[in-house]
């Protein structure tokens, strides 16, 4: 079940927000610099650079570990497992990223740029969600098959 838990915002410290801001800003500058220096081909590759993942996986792992420590448990393994789940989600999300790029590539030359970017963003979330849902359904089917 998909839900929103705002306590995730409170557990992120100011310096962790700053790290993500700097990492994201730097990745964007790097993509622009490489496009300027080596052309649109190399610059384009870096539009799919993992700018959020390293920081988010580290934070997910650290927060899960701290949560377990607070109740007197050793949370290292749990933290690692949470980061692995985050990474699986990122791998599924990358299919949405691929769809985003495809829409921009095919539609941009002949359509309004803002319409293209908006449509590509919707396609990204729909495709990413579809892959995530398929994986959920596959898990449910495997569990049901094992119970039989």
């Amino acid at each position: 079940m998909i839900g929103v838990n705002l306590s995730g915002l409170r557990s992120t410290r100011p310096h962790e927000y700053a790290i993500r801001f700097v990492f994201g800003g730097s990745a964007t500058v790097l993509a622009g610099f490489l496009a300027y220096k080596f052309g649109a081909g190399i610059g384009g590759l870096f539009l799919a650079f993992p700018a959020i993942f390293p920081a988010s996986a580290t934070l997910v792992s650290a927060h899960e570990r701290e949560r377990k420590h607070r109740v007197g448990l050793h949370g290292t393994e749990r933290g690692r497992s949470a980061a692995a789940i985050d990474a699986t989600g990122a791998a599924l999300g990358s299919m949405g990223l691929l769809a985003f790029a495809f829409v921009v590539w095919r539609m941009l030359p002949g359509h309004n740029p803002w319409l293209v970017i908006g449509s590509a963003t919707i396609v990204w979330i729909v495709v990413a969600f579809a892959f995530w849902k398929l994986r959920q359904l596959r898990h449910i089917a495997i569990r049901a098959w094992r119970r039989r």
Binding site: F21, A35, A48, F49, A51, F53, A83, A87, F100, P113
Partner: protein, 114 residues
């Protein structure tokens, strides 16, 4: 200089925004989708269209597809490493960045360096 500062600020804001969305969503596997959000692309495509024109930005997007395939390999490798080896999350995420680069450049070269 102003353009680079603008890029940095827009990139930082967009990436932070997606990261915050990922922070509040549950379950974690769903929140993970936002780790692969097109944050750098959203921050860059508008600037590329404004400065270089639509064909240039479309060319960048075509090559971004190669980067996305490489991202999939990178994230799947990170997931495997975290599950099977006793590696910490930041070591796994950072040590595999060269894998992302190698796959991206390798596929780009095989595709004839578009």
């Amino acid at each position: 200089m102003t353009e680079w500062i603008l890029r940095f600020l827009i990139g930082g804001i967009v990436v932070s925004l997606f990261a915050v969305i990922g922070d509040v969503l549950r379950p974690k596997s769903f929140a993970g989708l936002f780790s692969a959000a097109p944050s750098v692309a959203l921050a860059t495509v508008g600037l590329a269209i404004h400065k270089e024109g639509r064909p240039y930005a479309a060319h960048e997007a075509a090559c971004m597809m190669i980067g996305a395939v490489s991202f999939c390999v990178y994230a799947a490798a990170a997931s495997c490493l975290l599950r099977r080896a006793r590696t910490s999350a930041h070591v796994a995420a950072l040590s595999l960045l060269p894998v992302w680069l190698a796959v991206a450049l390798g596929v780009w070269a095989l595709a004839g360096r578009p």
